[in-house]
Subunit: 433 residues, 2 copies
Amino acid sequence: MPIIEPRILKGFRDFLPSQEIARRSLMETVEGVFRSFGFVPIDTPALEYAEILLGKGGGETEKQIYRFKDNGDRDVALRFDLTVPFARFVALHQAEITLPFKRYHMAKVWRGENTQRGRYREFTQCDFDIVGSDSPGADFEILLMMRETMKALGVEALVHLNHRGLFNRFLEYRGIRDKSVEILRSVDKLSKIGEEETGKQLEEIAGKEQAGAVLEYINAGGTFEEILDTLSGLAGGPCPESERLSVLRRFIIDTGTEASFELDPSITRGLDYYTGIVYETFLKDDPAIGSVCSGGRYDDLAGLYMKDRISGVGSSIGLDRLIAALENLGKLERLSSYAKLAVAGSREEDGGRCQALAERFRSGGIACEVLLEPAGSADPRQLTKQYILAEKKGARWLLILTGDSEKFTLRDLKKRENREDLSFEEALKIAGN
Amino acid sequence: MPIIEPRILKGFRDFLPSQEIARRSLMETVEGVFRSFGFVPIDTPALEYAEILLGKGGGETEKQIYRFKDNGDRDVALRFDLTVPFARFVALHQAEITLPFKRYHMAKVWRGENTQRGRYREFTQCDFDIVGSDSPGADFEILLMMRETMKALGVEALVHLNHRGLFNRFLEYRGIRDKSVEILRSVDKLSKIGEEETGKQLEEIAGKEQAGAVLEYINAGGTFEEILDTLSGLAGGPCPESERLSVLRRFIIDTGTEASFELDPSITRGLDYYTGIVYETFLKDDPAIGSVCSGGRYDDLAGLYMKDRISGVGSSIGLDRLIAALENLGKLERLSSYAKLAVAGSREEDGGRCQALAERFRSGGIACEVLLEPAGSADPRQLTKQYILAEKKGARWLLILTGDSEKFTLRDLKKRENREDLSFEEALKIAGN
């Protein structure tokens, strides 16, 4: 029979063990932080009615979505983010959840992106949100979680914070609120296209004088308080939005986290639905890689699916980018296995004893892989093969059973030396260190 | 704007926090066991070329698979199991993996099953396999892992073990090997349709005398050794297959796991590709729910995608069934949150102090949720609302900040009593117990 060429779709990925171990270790750390904040996990289907996922419909999404008719002729699609399914989830399960609801969701999403830009068509999103609370405490909690998550991963984050509502108030005050979409889009590209080009675009949109004012706003400098003063001044004086930023500043001071947050009026976030604070998170040691975690406050999560408005604030971690950054910084542990210890018998009939001994190590808290072929101690080449195999498997230690003895030899695969004549307890202690 | 009805596809599920916490806890326990055996995780795309997934093609699969044309007009499909993608993975990454390769994979798969039979169209599979080893040690390791996994979940397993090859040899010896597919299919249904009906079917397939011999084979009773004697006798005497079972029996004795394994000649497993041992796992406290973990040895994993034969042995846990069984047995912990402690301030301006205090508890190893609205100690109704909220969230303790004091009140939400005037260290100790 002819062989089918083993291949995968462009933009999709296999994860080999060492990659998958690194990904999981990162996700487990992140989840640990979420859980420590009392956030709870949910899950939703990968496949939903296209009507649900597309909502109002919309150009880019519609073109990128994996949409098809299922066997029952239903119009279905793979989820392209975790926000839309979350909105649908909240509307459907209103009666079953307690507000404020703090949830996280780590799962795959699919988009038929143009892979030439280095985008994947299948990737994991990691969203965390608080819905059902307008309080600044909710805003700050999400900000703090971003900081703590990065800290748990061994890196320092600088969160660039802004308030979309204050910017809108500024546009209103300047009489150019009707051009806000174009202006926001242009400002959002600032870091990519540079100030000159942004200035040119703004001039085209709103004229020279207004462009100057917008540039003044997004370039406001100084301390948090100074910038905030400038912004409220430009927006017509103190207002609820500038007050929200003051309160957040108080939270930052009360938690001693000043070094992790800065007010950055150039942050806008492209997406329409943000209405309050918005933020992007950069790594202090590798800011050039871009934001690894971003989000904001919205005042209507699930309006498409329910009558009541539920507001919230949330953030999304870009796992692929974060992994790349951690790898660059040497912060990603590369393991080829969880097992520190390998066990091998020297004779065919030692198989059961090897497994029994491995169980004793596992009970002692040491992950332990049994090498399935006997080491054949009579033949030194056979033994060398076992050394190589155990090393390839990522073990640090190799224990070889000799005869029926209750004494063991422990091979240190790193230092390439043997510790002989050890009792089980001695071997456990050495391998456990 | 009209509201879109929030609904999900039939056969698909949302997981609310308490369900998702239970599922994750179970999956984490299972993964912990896999890792302790030196098994490594991999991941593969949800979507693959239909040609890869369908392979030889085949009736039932073809009808159930979610298959469609993507935006680039490629013929693609959602994976319907983890075995086919694993075969493709091994063929594609031959050069990057070390044999014997011990991998696990926990991920969702999709099948357009008939939901009337209580089947889901999206479910999580959990596969673990050793490929690239023919040794009985590999067979036994998979058997032992099934036992240890169930033990880690707090239940005792009884693994029903058989050898497909020995049964084939018996059919050969009786001269009815050509009818093996029908015979296997009929024997596989034994527990569902009963012995009488099986006998009738076997008679139709192979005649009265042969049916009697098959029934004698699958009903062989006694100890492991006695059954094995009967089977090899019926199959024409000792042979490599009966020897394999003897060796596995020695493994069982050497590891003192006799109570977990029995030889059951009626186990056949429907799937064609098993050639060696096959097994199903039942819970001693709830055998009626059926096998929660099953698999076997195959001698050609990836023949569709590569020239070399790679043999292996593996098993698959039926997560949904296992969760149902654990729930029945009261072995599934039902948590509504990971946070044991909730923290609330009494005044608006306590927000930052609450977050700072919560961080201290988290550093002390206690997951801690901040209640976002101030408790308003002046108003007892407001305080009662916080008690109720903290309880609903699943916390055991509620700490309320009063004024600027460094002394705290800890509310025991279970006993409904307060511990007053505690230092941080005292509160940490109480909440940590």
